[in-house]
Point group: C2
């Protein structure tokens, strides 16, 4: 339980309704900033403006998936009022106050460093990334089915990278009956691909493996699908690039070559906001219990 813990939720999309629901269920004392247009009612949670709250009493701050923009403004889907996080405000919080953001942005990193408060980047955690790979893979499935006139079953599928998402994609496309090849660099990854019953090859040999590809799924955030590689692909191939923006594909060349290439870097919040919200909520709850633990129950 998180009884008595003062948590401020600042902005966020539909996923954060699951975060609010879960933290509320854990008996935390919630203040919601940037939710004034939200119809849903959470018993005990209080809607407020940032200027109304006493920073000195805040134990934890939850920011949206994308943190803040370069001027410190926070994305608020459920409000029209701008919300800005400042160093001055953060300095008024107690020293133990932690900020939980999806990712770190230059503004946020700078601000937190100056104020000397802890910044936890949830999306950089392996556990969250692995849980998130499930909605990512299902979103990829959807895009592939929508954008091909053939079935995944029996198709030649090439997956680039056996990271946290690459492994989930490999497992799922294999289970659907695709012929799956996976490109990787690290020897332990190549070994794991072979163990999974799939065909491994070294990413440096990519050019010689794309000649018969039907579907190419990239998870590597580096320019791997270069013009030279795309030139060797069949014209009816489909590329889905789910690496962080700007992806790893030469989209300009793909278009010129007439190859359909889709950049889809943040599928979980789009295809399964409820599940994606629960994933954030569960990991966040674990971290809060770990940090504030049993004391909060006495608070």
């Amino acid at each position: 339980m998180l009884t008595g813990l003062n948590i401020v939720i600042m902005g966020g999309d539909a996923r954060y309704l699951e975060v609010i629901r879960k933290l509320n269920e854990m008996d935390a004392q919630l203040t919601l900033i940037g939710f004034d247009q939200l119809d849903q009612y959470f018993n005990g949670a209080v809607k407020a403006d940032i200027d109304d709250i006493d920073a000195a009493k805040v134990d934890a701050i939850v920011l949206p998936a994308n943190g803040t923009d370069e001027n410190g403004f926070i994305e608020t889907i459920f409000s029209n009022k701008p919300v800005k996080l400042t160093e001055e405000w953060l300095e008024k919080t107690p020293a133990h106050c932690s900020v939980y953001s999806g990712i770190g942005t230059p503004y946020l990193e700078r601000c937190l460093r100056s104020a000397n408060r802890e910044l936890v980047k949830l999306f950089e955690r392996d556990d969250l990334a692995i849980y998130n790979s499930v909605p990512t893979a299902e979103g990829t499935l959807m895009l592939v089915i929508q954008n091909t006139d053939f079935t995944i079953h029996g198709a030649n599928v090439l997956i680039l990278g056996l990271g946290r998402t690459g492994m989930t994609l490999a497992r799922i496309f294999h289970a659907l009956g695709a012929k799956v090849k996976v490109a990787a660099r690290r020897p332990e990854h190549l070994a794991r691909i072979a163990e999974m019953g799939l065909s491994p090859f070294h990413i440096d040999d990519l050019e010689s493996h794309v000649g018969d590809v039907d579907i190419c799924l990239n998870t590597i955030p580096a320019k791997v699908l270069t013009g030279k590689v795309i030139a060797k692909m069949p014209a009816q191939a489909l590329i889905v690039d789910i690496a962080s923006k700007p992806g790893g594909t030469d989209f300009r060349y793909a278009e010129k070559r007439g190859i359909k290439a889709i950049l889809a870097p943040s599928l979980p919040g789009i295809v399964a906001p409820k599940t994606a919200g629960r994933i954030i909520a569960n990991v966040l709850t674990d971290l809060l219990i770990e940090k504030f633990g049993e004391e909060s129950e006495e608070a």
Copy 2:
């Protein structure tokens, strides 16, 4: 090979381009009726009107998936001219001439019986139905991902029927990490469901198994999802009914109850026309070789 065999393709959608491609590759002599607006060129295949051709020389006739309408007209996606199949015309064909349709319609059955020609209903064949279950299952996946805000992984999925499509759905949704229950009636089906590591139950007990369902997939062409059953489902459940029209769901009651229910009876031609076309082409080729066999090579 089907060298010298005179085959008339009458109408059909994008799937039938694969049929034309394959039969052409097998060296059959093709006449295309209802394709005058088709840009694609097939070497050796001749476009014609039904009145231009000599019925006495026709060995086989390929009709669209849905056969004819109740007046004998044939669906022609690639033409504006109406094409009608008549008993009189069929009687002019040689006695060995066979008609290959997706399904049988009352008009078609009557017409073929009177003319005393063989009618092969491709979609009633087990092999074709099993191959077709793959694009059907992938189309179902797409609909489910599009229409839920949670992942299939971890969801309570209920599949009604372990027929040719039910088994494919069960296997695929299980592989994606769903908790799958399958309803069936026949003891050998209930045994197979258990063998697959899934939870079987008798379809007569349906009412007591829907209380926690997230996704319900129906393959049974009979009123199984009655108002009484739907009344016991959670409000956020999704029903996808892929049984032949009109499906097995009380759609009126589902809507009243606020439960999303989708009737999607012919997914293969929609989500994977190329694969669905190849499936028809392969089964058709096998049947033609079986019937006309080696003789056709001498013709």
